[in-house]
């Protein structure tokens, strides 16, 4: 064993010349480590590897907009008064001076017109709320469509879903706080939804509003929910979400050297610390730009809440759009029986369907796992085409969402495009059942088509664009093999297995227990996976290679790089240049 003596000065002294001076940072770190074991933590986490892909940034947008929400929201609390006590407005906004209004509304006006940067913070707060929920949605779709929710990440899928739901509730509570005409109308609708609850609806409404709507307690109650209760839950769940992310390590895309057993990417320190930190400032900066240049929720134009007033074209924030659409297209069913009223027209769209849709999304990973019986861990992402049924399901759900969203703005559509409001509503009532299945079918076939194309590329190579003419006068297109790395990436996926029931009866000829369940499972498995195109086997690839070599032999002599391009600008470079592309 030889010592590295390069750092030791060539003197005869007994101490290395580069001995570290005791410095302050080191002392602080030592002090902290003595108490917190930070050294070990740093050793484990500081160089933690994160794989790189643009789609992994979507969740980060949600995380950073949440931080922006905390910062801007804290600023707003310094002036906002969550009270429904009334007084006449005396602030800077002349048009409303002397108008009686709640303290909540007056203080929101104060923030907008009498606090420097107040309007900016309000608008940034509202914009980042929209970004937060939008980013969660898109992040969730990415997770879904790539199968990132598979074992061991199912719990994180559930946590993420709950985060989305809480985010939407938080948003609703937030935009109800200013107590302006629009937010009051939103609360009025919420009251109608609550009252439609069977048996206890009226009591729930009276308890929520502290008496008859609108009462004088809903704003302070929503305020504490908005600034403490839900943010606390969000923080805790985001913490759990991130901890699980670190524990499971991030998923990655398949590729040369990227397998189920490893994770390949850049280390936390310094690359991701800088990139993610920088990205926080980017998200914050974009929000600031939006707050500066895009007006949002100009409450001074709506006036204070008055339950006898409303403006045409009232719209909730975008994420409430589907609830709005459901309410609008629901037929007017109501039952009056034994002296009670059951409002199907409000209960079904307001209290049942949103949770059914939510349940379908949250439950899909568990359904898929049950059908496949797959108990392995999965760390490699699936391309959307390689799970055609799942991708098609998402496409259908997105269609449902889009249709309901459009239905939620049926009055806007009617006035902007001069369509009949009634026709739009009737159309939506049918479309919501007809279009998603069509989208499902088309997406599924599309995915399967793309899978076929992948196999074509593997077996026959890529299309070079060079047309060959044979001695007989027939024309063919030259195909050349794709690179080894691309070929490996295309084949780095599992084969789907179709679950079969072994037998309806057990060995004694008696009907086996759970046959019905097994039958359903087998049927689902066939439906979900039977049409998928599997990657070629080694033999098929070998055979295709033989075939291609044979073709090439036939084409020898014709095979020189300038073929067909003698007289145009598309001169190939050298004979050694093939393959033309690296795909």
């Amino acid at each position: 064993m030889s010592l590295d003596t390069s750092k030791i000065a060539d003197t005869n002294k007994d101490r290395p010349a580069t001995a570290k001076k005791p410095n302050r940072a080191g002392a602080v770190a030592g002090w902290a480590d003595d108490r917190l074991k930070l050294g070990t933590l740093t050793k484990v986490f500081a160089r933690k590897v994160f794989p790189d892909h643009w789609s992994f940034m979507l969740g980060e947008i949600a995380l950073w907009s949440f931080v922006v929400l905390l910062l801007t929201g804290t600023f707003l609390t310094l002036w906002f008064t969550p009270s429904m006590s009334e007084s006449a407005y005396e602030g800077s906004y002349t048009q409303l001076r002397g108008v009686p209004m709640s303290d909540a509304y007056a203080s929101t006006l104060h923030i907008s017109f009498d606090v420097r940067g107040g309007l900016l913070m309000r608008q940034m707060h509202h914009w980042s709320a929209m970004l937060f929920i939008a980013a969660m949605f898109v992040h969730m779709m990415r997770t879904f469509v790539t199968g990132a929710f598979r074992k061991p990440r199912e719990l994180n899928w559930v946590i993420g879903s709950v985060l989305l739901l809480l985010g939407i509730l938080e948003g609703f509570a937030g935009y109800s706080l200013p107590d302006d005409l629009l937010s009051g109308t939103g609360l009025r609708i919420a009251d109608g939804l609550v009252k439609a609850t069977p048996v206890v609806g009226t009591y729930m409404s009276f308890f929520l509003f502290g008496g008859e709507f609108p009462g004088d307690v809903i704003i302070p109650r929503l305020y504490i929910i908005h600034v403490l209760l839900i943010p606390g839950l969000l923080l805790a769940l985001i913490g759990a979400h991130m901890l699980l992310l670190v524990f499971h390590k991030h998923t990655q895309w398949a590729g040369p050297g990227r397998t189920e057993q490893n994770v390949v990417g850049y280390p936390m320190l310094p690359v991701y610390a800088a990139k993610a930190g920088g990205f926080f400032f980017m998200v914050f900066g974009v929000t600031a730009l939006m707050g500066a240049l895009l007006s949002i929720n100009p409450i001074w134009k709506y006036g204070p809440y008055d339950p006898s007033k409303v403006t045409a074209g009232s719209q909730p924030d975008w994420y409430m759009g589907i609830a709005e659409g459901l309410l609008r297209i629901m037929p007017n069913w109501e039952t009056h029986i034994w002296g009670i009223t059951i409002s199907w027209n409000v209960m079904i769209p307001g209290q049942i369907i949103p949770f059914v849709l939510f349940g379908m999304i949250i439950g899909w990973p568990f359904l898929e796992q049950w059908v496949t019986g797959d108990k392995r861990e999965h760390h490699l992402l699936q391309r959307p085409r390689n799970a055609p049924t799942r991708t098609a399901f998402l496409a259908a759900m997105v269609t449902v969402y889009g249709l309901l969203w459009a239905a939620g703005g049926n009055d806007i559509l009617a006035t902007h495009f001069h369509w009949s409001l009634n026709s739009i509503t009737y159309f939506m009532r049918v479309a919501i059942f007809v279009i998603p299945p069509i989208v499902f079918y088309v997406t599924r076939r599309w995915c399967i088509g793309l899978q076929r194309q992948d196999n074509d590329r593997l077996l026959h190579g890529y299309e070079t664009g060079i047309i060959m003419r044979s001695a007989e006068g027939g024309y063919t297109e030259r195909h050349l093999p794709i690179s080894e790395a691309s070929a490996y990436t295309l084949t780095a996926r599992n084969r789907d297995e179709i679950h079969q029931i072994e037998s309806d009866v057990d060995e004694n000829g008696v009907a086996a227990p759970d046959t019905r369940v097994a039958r359903i499972r087998a049927k689902l498995s066939r439906g979900m996976f039977a049409d998928n195109v599997q990657k070629p086997t080694a033999e098929e690839l070998e055979e295709a290679r033989h075939h291609a070599e044979h073709e090439h032999e036939l084409e020898t002599g014709l095979d020189h790089p300038a073929a067909g391009h003698e007289f145009d600008d598309h001169q190939l470079r050298d004979a050694g240049d093939v393959p033309l592309r690296q795909h």
Binding site: T202, L208, T259, N262, P270, V271, G278, A312
Partner: protein, 368 residues
């Protein structure tokens, strides 16, 4: 490190080992960036990053200057209706933040080492050994506590815990009063009035409460309305003041609660256009009066189709026929708009003969 990655066979599910058609070629070799090999490019990147950070400083100074220079005041209409202060502060803040972000990212991309690192994964589960140890520890705990052997202790504890959980629920009782029959009446009903209102009423020497214009509170004569007119109206008591104290009889939250039930609309049409006999009987010279509160989820209804006598709710587009008992023509509302029986009082002003004969607004369970 990349060379000794295991050659994986992912398809060993159910014991069927199938060979991967193409073996893993392993991580591609690292490629140097221009900034790694060209000192000029490196210097340039360094200047770019520093330049961005300087820009961030400039933005922050601009923010401070704007904070002092611009007043928010009462004019939000400057610079594209956005307010000068808002735009200046926001843009400066955005420049600072974006420049900082871009600088950090440029630094990471161009100058920090870009060697990819391979980290091995480990199963999420604990080892079999640990699992067994955990189970035995839990069993020991269970046995030592005697939870299984002493059902009396266990069950009484469960009962105590359950009833303890009930306490917070009970404590929520005072969140609000019980509904009683509050939703069945509105302030159109003189019996719901408090003593102060009744004292004022006693001075009026009238028997019927007038239907007055919203906002201003002026009473309405039949001749004030043209055919096709729609007027937002309220009960007159909402606009009256106590003759002694000059304070409004109804104000604050009470006013909002009463408005949310008692708001009405008046609409005048040709008496011959009226379809249902009840609507005709409850009208005065073609003037009908309906609750303004939608029977769907309670939005105030206000969009009038002048010629058809249809009234459209702006929230969810339920449409009601004012010529025919407020019946639902379209949309998600299930019940007709409640009609208010209209008449003229001693001085010829429009007045309500009595309260609505049914609860107004959204449906609720006990509504019947």
């Amino acid at each position: 490190m990349t060379d000794n990655l295991p050659e994986t066979t992912h398809d060993d599910h159910a014991g069927v080992a199938m060979q991967e058609p193409i073996p893993d070629p392993g991580l591609p070799a690292h490629e140097w960036r221009p900034t790694d090999v060209d000192p000029k490019a490196e210097k340039r990147a360094e200047r770019q990053v520093a330049g961005l950070f300087v820009l961030a400083i400039v933005g922050a100074i601009g923010f401070i200057v704007s904070y002092i220079a611009f007043h928010v005041g009462d004019n939000p209409d400057t610079i594209g209706n956005l307010g000068a202060s808002n735009v200046a502060l926001g843009v400066c803040l955005a420049v600072t933040l974006l420049a900082m972000g871009a600088g950090m990212i440029q630094w990471a991309r161009k100058l920090m080492a870009d060697h990819e690192i391979v980290e091995m994964r480990h199963p999420a589960s604990s080892s079999q050994e640990d699992r067994e140890a955990a189970v035995s520890i839990l069993q020991t705990g269970l046995e030592e506590s005697g939870l299984g052997r002493r059902p009396l202790v266990r069950n009484t504890l469960l009962a105590a815990g359950g009833i303890l959980g009930l306490l917070p629920v009970i404590m929520l009782r005072d969140l609000g009063p019980l509904p009683g029959d509050k939703l069945d009446h509105t302030i159109w009903d003189l019996d719901t009035w408090n003593a102060e209102m009744k004292a004022w009423w006693a001075t009026q020497n009238r028997t019927l409460q007038r239907v007055v214009r919203d906002v201003v509170g002026t009473p309405i004569k039949v001749t004030d309305l043209e055919i096709g007119d729609l007027v937002n109206a309220e009960p007159e008591v909402l606009f009256q003041t106590n003759p002694d104290t000059q304070a409004p009889l109804v104000e604050g939250t009470d006013l909002l609660v009463d408005k949310s039930k008692a708001a009405v609309i008046l609409h005048r049409m040709l008496p011959s256009d009226i379809v249902s006999s009840q609507t005709l009987n409850w009208s005065v010279d073609g003037i009908v009066c309906y609750s303004k509160i939608c029977t769907h989820v309670g939005c105030p209804i206000s969009l009038n189709e002048r010629t058809t006598h249809h009234l459209l709710c702006p929230c969810h587009q339920s449409t009601f026929d004012l010529a025919d008992s407020g019946r639902v023509l379209f949309g998600p509302a299930a019940r007709a708009l409640p009609q208010l029986e209209l008449t003229v009082d001693e001085e010829g002003y429009l007045a309500a003969r009595r309260d609505f004969t049914q609860p107004v607004g959204p449906s609720f369970w006990e509504r019947g």
